[in-house]
């Protein structure tokens, strides 16, 4: 069995192709730059307040952060399976995979809300410290992207149920899937940066 890291031979297939709409990729690049700027603002601000950041980070709920990472990764996986099913002409099956992906994304929202409620109950607010300001702004900015992603997944689910996606009409589902993977991608940096790095 080949390890997954070995790339498939690029010559063994059709020409290189950007999946989905070109516009979504420019949007994704803009989003990555915005998240990148936030991450670096956090990292360099931390460099000036290492003790404060380390101390207050200890109070974060790493279990819910890790659980949310697993939920997003699993959701991304299920959406990949949906795209593969659509590519194979199985639109109904694609709808079921998307529903699974939506459920995991909704699970992220529920876990995050519990985390916020616990934090607010502990008196955390935007003005309580530099660390908490960053924690709230960064995670809430990401949270809003998850909400938008869920709206997109719901639209994809509806489209797949109506048989809108297939081997010759992959653009819509590829475009929505690319956005959802971007939401996952930025969380993969946010989690170690804010919850674990010390």
């Amino acid at each position: 069995m080949n390890p997954p890291a070995i790339p498939a031979a690029a010559s063994d297939g059709p020409a290189r192709r950007l999946p989905g709409d070109l516009a979504i990729w420019f949007f994704i690049l803009a989003e990555l730059l915005a998240f990148g700027a936030f991450f670096l603002a956090y990292a360099f601000s931390r460099a000036n307040n290492v003790e404060l950041f380390n101390e207050q980070q200890l109070a974060l709920d790493r279990n819910s952060g890790a659980l949310n990472t697993i939920l997003l990764l699993t959701s991304s996986y299920l959406v990949v399976r949906a795209v593969q099913a659509a590519e194979a002409g199985q639109s109904r099956r694609a709808a079921n995979w998307i529903a699974g992906g939506f459920a995991c994304g909704a699970g992220f929202v529920v876990v995050k809300l519990f985390e916020y409620v616990a934090k607010f109950a502990a008196g955390v607010s935007l003005s309580s410290s530099t660390f908490h300001m960053f924690y709230l702004v960064l995670t809430f900015f990401h949270f809003m992207h998850v909400i938008l992603g869920l709206v997109i997944l719901a639209a994809l689910w509806n489209g797949a149920r109506k048989g809108r996606y297939g081997p010759g009409s992959m653009n819509g589902i590829e475009t929505g899937a690319a956005y959802w993977h971007m939401v996952d991608l930025v969380w993969l940096i946010l989690f170690p940066l804010v919850y674990v790095m010390r």
């Binding site: 997954p4 790339p7 498939a8 690029a10 297939g13 059709p14 290189r16 192709r17 950007l18 999946p19 990729w25 690049l29 990555l32 730059l33 990148g36 991450f39 670096l40 990292a43 360099f44 931390r46 460099a47 000036n48 290492v50 380390n54 200890l58 790493r62 279990n63 952060g65 890790a66 990472t69 697993i70 990764l73 699993t74 991304s76 996986y77 959406v79 990949v80 399976r81 795209v83 593969q84 590519e87 194979a88 081997p167 010759g168 590829e174 690319a178 993977h181 971007m182 996952d184 991608l185 993969l188 940096i189 989690f191 170690p192 940066l193 919850y195 674990v196 790095m197 010390r198």
Partner: protein, 103 residues
């Protein structure tokens, strides 16, 4: 279970890989997440640990970019831009961390 392997060449394109490949990647991503979580729980710190954390984050991100986002078969500019973003962000976080150590 999987019926499309034999018909893969009949499809107009297969930029999204196989279900098996996607599943193997998912298992690796979850295992990597458990490593990051256990580092957090142990309270370990220091440059080597932070290097490990962001090496893991980079590897996970590369898998998402190349496979789940299907940029492996996209025009080269796109995987390079996404991987370049990951590299730059991880490297600058490393520099900021190092700056914090010196402070």
């Amino acid at each position: 279970m999987q019926t499309r392997d034999s018909s893969a060449h009949a499809l107009p394109h297969s930029d999204h890989g196989t279900p098996l490949r996607a599943t193997v990647i998912w298992v690796v991503l979850i295992a990597a997440t458990i490593v990051t979580w256990s580092v957090g729980e142990s309270g370990a710190s220091g440059p080597a640990i932070v290097g490990l954390l962001f090496a893991i984050a980079f590897g996970k991100g590369a898998m998402i970019i190349l496979d789940y986002m299907a940029l492996r078969r996209a025009p080269l500019m796109w995987p390079l831009l996404a991987l370049g973003w990951m590299t730059l962000v991880c490297a600058l976080i490393g520099i900021a961390y190092w700056k914090g150590l010196a402070a």
